[in-house]
C-alpha cells in the first residue's frame, strides 16, 4: 500500500529521516569536545572584560543516553514502518494489532457467549448473567434509537409492549436483530391527492376509534380498500410478514394525529433497523434477543431481575 502519488516521495521521506539521524550523530560528536583556556575550571568565554563562564560539564553518561536514543531510533525504523513505505521487519499494522486484540478478547469472552448460545432465547431470558450482559449490549448499541428504557420514540418502536411489527416470537426477534429490517411505506400523495389523503387519514383514525370526520372516513374506506389492504389487510390489522403495522390498536410508530397521518400517507415512510450480524456476531445477538424478549415478558425474566441485580 502506498499513500504517495509516486515512488519518489517514499524515498524522499526515508532520505530526510536518515539524514536527520546522521546529522544528530555528527552534531553530537562535533559538539562533545571544545577547546578551552588553560584553566580547566573555566571555559574560554569571557564577557565584559572579566566575566568568565565556569566549566560545569554534564556527566559522561548523558552522552551515552544520546547514543542509546539514536540506536533506539534506528532499531525502531528497522522493525516498524517509518521509512517511507518500508513496512518494517515485524510487519506491524494498527489493523493487525486490533485484530490480535480482538482474537485475544474472543478467547476470553467467546466461551461465555458459547455457553449462552446453547440455550434458547426464552430460557436464556431468566439467566441473570445473560440478562446483565444483554442489558450492557442494549445500552451500548440499541439505546441510541430505542432509548435507555427500550420504549422507543417517534419512528423507533417500543420494545417493552407486546405489540410487534414483525412478530415477537423469540426467533423472529433474533432474526430482526441479526439481519435488520427495512420498513417501507410508499408515498400515496401523488395517487390520492390532498383530499384523498385526508379521507384515508380519517378512515385510519376511525379504525382505532379516534375522533374523525365520518363523511371523509366513508370516502377514505374505499381508497383504503384499493390501495392499503395489500399490506395492512382488509381489517387494517396489518401484516407481520411485511412489517405493516396494525392500525386498529393504540400503538403508533409516528403518531396518530390527523396531521401526522396525512404526512405518513402522502409522503410514505422509510424505516431502517440495521443488521447487527457482522458488528456483534450471532452469539451476542442471541443474548441481546433474550434481553429484548425479557422486556415484554417480565414473567419469563423473573429469575434475572431479582432485587439487587
Amino acid at each position: 500500500m502506498s499513500d504517495f502519488t509516486s515512488g519518489f516521495w517514499s524515498l524522499y521521506v526515508a532520505g530526510v529521516t536518515l539524514v536527520g539521524i546522521v546529522a544528530c550523530a555528527l552534531l553530537l560528536m562535533s559538539m562533545s569536545k571544545r577547546r578551552v583556556s588553560t584553566d580547566p575550571e573555566k571555559t574560554a568565554h569571557v564577557w565584559d572584560e572579566d566575566l568568565a563562564e565556569y566549566n560545569n560539564p554534564l556527566p559522561r553518561w548523558w552522552i551515552y543516553l544520546f547514543w542509546i536514543t539514536i540506536a533506539f531510533g534506528l532499531a525502531y525504523l528497522v522493525l516498524y514502518p517509518g521509512m517511507g513505505t518500508w513496512a518494517g521487519a515485524w510487519q506491524w499494522t494498527s489493523t493487525g494489532q486490533y485484530q490480535d486484540e480482538m482474537r485475544a478478547a474472543e478467547k476470553v469472552y467467546g466461551p461465555i457467549y458459547q455457553k449462552f448460545s446453547a440455550v434458547d432465547v426464552k430460557t436464556l431470558a431468566s439467566d441473570p448473567q445473560a440478562h446483565a450482559a444483554g442489558e450492557k449490549l442494549f445500552l451500548n448499541y440499541c439505546s441510541q434509537c430505542h432509548a435507555s428504557d427500550a420504549r422507543g420514540g417517534k419512528g423507533f418502536p417500543n420494545l417493552t409492549d407486546d405489540d410487534w411489527l414483525y412478530g415477537g416470537a423469540p426467533e423472529t426477534v433474533e432474526q430482526t436483530i441479526l439481519n435488520g429490517r427495512n420498513g417501507v411505506m410508499p408515498a400515496w400523495g401523488p395517487v390520492l391527492k390532498d383530499e384523498g389523503v385526508k379521507d384515508v387519514a380519517n378512515y385510519v383514525r376511525s379504525l382505532s376509534g379516534l375522533s374523525n370526520d365520518a363523511a371523509r372516513a366513508e370516502r377514505g374506506k374505499a381508497s383504503f380498500a384499493t390501495y392499503c389492504v395489500a399490506c395492512h389487510g382488509a381489517d387494517g390489522k396489518g401484516n407481520q410478514a411485511v412489517g405493516a403495522p396494525n392500525l386498529t390498536d393504540a400503538t403508533w410508530l409516528y403518531g396518530s394525529s390527523e396531521a401526522t397521518l396525512v404526512e405518513t400517507i402522502s409522503k410514505g415512510r422509510n424505516n431502517k433497523m440495521p443488521a447487527w450480524k457482522d458488528m456483534l456476531g450471532e452469539a451476542r445477538v442471541h443474548v441481546l434477543a433474550s434481553y429484548v424478549y425479557s422486556l415484554s415478558h417480565p414473567e419469563a425474566a423473573r429469575g434475572a431481575t431479582a432485587p439487587g441485580k
Partner: protein
C-alpha cells in the same frame, strides 16, 4: 567575548564520573536517618500485607479504577483528593525546605533511603570505604569476583523484594506472592516487577548521587525556597579558619590556627563528594553526615562540637545563638506556608468526612428527546448512573422536582426503594412525565437520590417538543 587566546587545550564537555566511597559515620544525625529509614521502609514493606474487611487494606486497583485506602474507597470521581494530596505534599516540601533546607533529601527521599541501605550491604560485604576503593583498584582475582558477585546478588535480591512490594500495591500482594511462587505472573506484572526492581538496583546501587545532581528536579528548585534564615548545613569559617593539622595537646591559639584540624573527614563521609567548607553547594543533600563526622573529631580533640552545624546565613553573619535562629523560624514565609497548608488539610478533611458515599450522574437520552404518551403527557427518558462507593449494599429512593410550568412530575422506574450492591455502578432507566400542555422548550429539573444517611441532588433538563 574575548578572542580565544590560542594556547588552550582540547577538553571533553562531558565529565567522567568520579566514584565516591563515602566513609561510614555515626552520630545523632545518622541515628535520625536510620530511624527514618526503618520507619519509612516498615510502612512500605509492611502495609501491603495488612488486610481490611477481607481485602488488602491499601490497594490501588487501576484496572477497576478504584483505590482502597483502609476504610475508604476512592473512585475516579474523587480525583480531587489525589490533587489535594499532591498539593499538600508540595506545600509540605516548601514548608520544610524553608525552615531547614533539604530535609526531605537528607532523611526521607527514597533515593537517600535506598542508597543508605545499599551502602550498608556494600559495607557489610566489601568492607569500609578504604577497602572498597582498594578492591576496585586491584586487578581481577577470585576474591574480587566473589565479593562483587555477593554484593550484586544481595542488591538484586533486595531490589526484587522492593519491586515485588511496589507491584503489590497495585495487584493484591497475596495473590502476587502465590503467582511468583508458582511462576505464573502475568506479562505486565512481570514487567513492572522487574522494572521497579531494576530502578531500585540501578538508582541505589549505581546512580546514587548522580540522581540528585543531574536528574532530580526537586533538588534544584528547592534552592529557590531557601532564604537567609533557612537552616542549612554550614561550616563556621570564623571558628575554623585558618585550618591546619596540630597535635592534640597543642594550643591552637599559640599556633595561630582555628578549630579545623583539616582532617578531611567531612569530605570523606559526604555521599555527594563535596567539601562543605566551601560553603553551600547545590550538590549538598543536607544529610548532615559531615556534622556527625566533624563532631566526632571535635570530641577527640576536646573542642566544642558544632564547627559544622545546622545554622542560617544570617546567624553566621551576625553571630546569632541557637535561640535567635529558632526565633527567626516565625517569619512571614513560614507562617504563610503553614497557614495555607493547614487550611487545605482542614478543608480536605472536612470534605472527606462529608463525602457522599453514593454518587449519581444523570445522562439524558440523546436519541429520544421526548415522546408523547397517553393523555397527551410528555415523557423524557434519563439514565441515572448510581455509584455505591461503600463496601455495604445500599438502599435508595429517587424523586424528581421541576418548575411549576411542568406541573406535577411523575417518575417511572423500577420498584422503589432500589438496592445497589457494594462498590458497584448501577444504571437505572428513568422516565419522567410532565402534565399535558406544558410549555414548549427546555425546563430545568432536579433528581434527588436519598439513602437513609444522605441525599444528593443532580440537575438535568426536561424537553417539551
Amino acid at each position: 567575548m574575548s578572542a580565544f587566546d590560542g594556547d588552550g587545550l582540547e577538553q571533553s564537555l562531558y565529565e567522567v564520573r568520579r566514584k565516591i566511597y563515602p566513609r561510614a559515620v555515626h552520630g545523632s544525625f545518622a541515628r535520625w536517618r536510620w530511624s527514618l529509614v526503618f520507619a519509612t521502609q516498615l510502612v512500605f514493606y509492611g502495609t501491603a500485607w495488612l488486610q481490611w474487611n477481607g481485602r488488602q487494606a491499601l490497594l490501588f486497583d487501576l484496572t477497576a479504577r478504584k483505590f482502597y485506602i483502609f476504610g475508604l474507597v476512592f473512585w475516579p470521581q474523587d480525583i480531587v483528593y489525589l490533587t489535594v494530596l499532591l498539593v499538600v505534599s508540595a506545600l509540605s516540601l516548601f514548608l520544610f525546605t524553608a525552615i531547614a533546607g533539604r530535609l526531605w533529601c537528607g532523611y526521607a527521599c527514597p533515593q537517600t533511603v535506598y542508597t543508605e541501605i545499599f551502602m550498608w550491604i556494600e559495607r557489610a560485604i566489601e568492607g569500609d570505604h578504604l577497602s572498597r576503593a582498594k578492591l576496585d583498584r586491584s586487578g581481577a582475582s577470585g576474591r574480587k569476583v566473589a565479593l562483587k558477585a555477593a554484593k550484586h546478588a544481595a542488591w538484586v535480591a533486595f531490589a526484587l523484594w522492593t519491586g515485588f512490594t511496589f507491584v503489590g500495591y497495585f495487584t493484591p500482594i497475596r495473590t502476587l506472592a502465590s503467582s511468583v511462587a508458582s511462576f505464573s505472573l502475568g506479562p505486565w506484572e512481570t514487567f513492572w516487577l522487574l522494572f521497579y526492581s531494576f530502578a531500585t538496583y540501578g538508582n541505589a546501587g549505581w546512580m546514587r548521587e548522580q540522581v540528585c545532581k543531574y536528574m532530580c528536579p526537586y533538588a534544584r528548585f528547592q534552592s529557590a525556597m531557601f532564604d537567609r534564615d533557612t537552616l542549612i548545613i554550614t561550616y563556621d569559617p570564623g571558628r575554623g579558619e585558618p585550618r591546619g593539622a596540630r597535635a592534640r595537646k597543642a594550643d591552637p591559639k599559640a599556633l595561630g590556627l582555628g578549630d579545623c584540624v583539616d582532617c578531611n573527614i567531612c569530605v570523606q563521609v559526604c555521599p555527594t563528594g563535596i567539601d562543605i567548607r566551601k560553603g553551600l553547594q547545590y550538590e549538598c543533600i543536607g544529610c548532615a553526615a559531615c556534622i556527625d563526622g566533624c563532631d566526632q573529631v571535635m570530641a577527640k580533640m576536646n573542642y566544642a562540637p558544632g564547627l559544622i552545624r545546622y545554622s542560617t546565613e544570617n546567624a553566621m553573619q551576625n553571630g546569632w545563638d541557637w535561640k535567635q535562629v529558632v526565633r527567626r523560624v516565625r517569619r512571614p514565609r513560614v507562617l504563610v506556608y503553614t497557614s495555607i497548608l493547614a487550611a487545605i488539610v482542614v478543608a480536605a478533611g472536612v470534605a472527606l468526612a462529608l463525602r457522599s458515599p453514593v454518587k449519581m450522574d444523570v445522562i439524558r437520552d440523546r436519541g429520544t428527546l421526548a415522546r408523547e404518551v397517553e393523555g397527551g403527557r410528555i415523557e423524557n427518558v434519563y439514565r441515572l448512573q448510581v455509584m455505591n462507593t461503600l463496601e455495604t449494599p445500599q438502599r435508595f429512593t429517587l424523586s424528581v422536582h421541576g418548575p411549576a410550568a411542568l406541573g406535577e412530575l411523575e417518575l417511572l422506574t423500577e420498584a422503589q426503594p432500589m438496592q445497589i450492591a457494594p462498590v458497584t455502578t448501577l444504571a437505572v432507566a428513568v422516565r419522567v412525565r410532565a402534565a399535558p400542555g406544558a410549555p414548549r422548550g427546555l425546563q430545568p429539573i432536579e433528581f434527588t437520590l436519598s439513602t437513609p444517611e444522605s441525599r444528593i441532588v443532580e440537575k438535568s433538563r426536561f424537553i417539551v417538543p
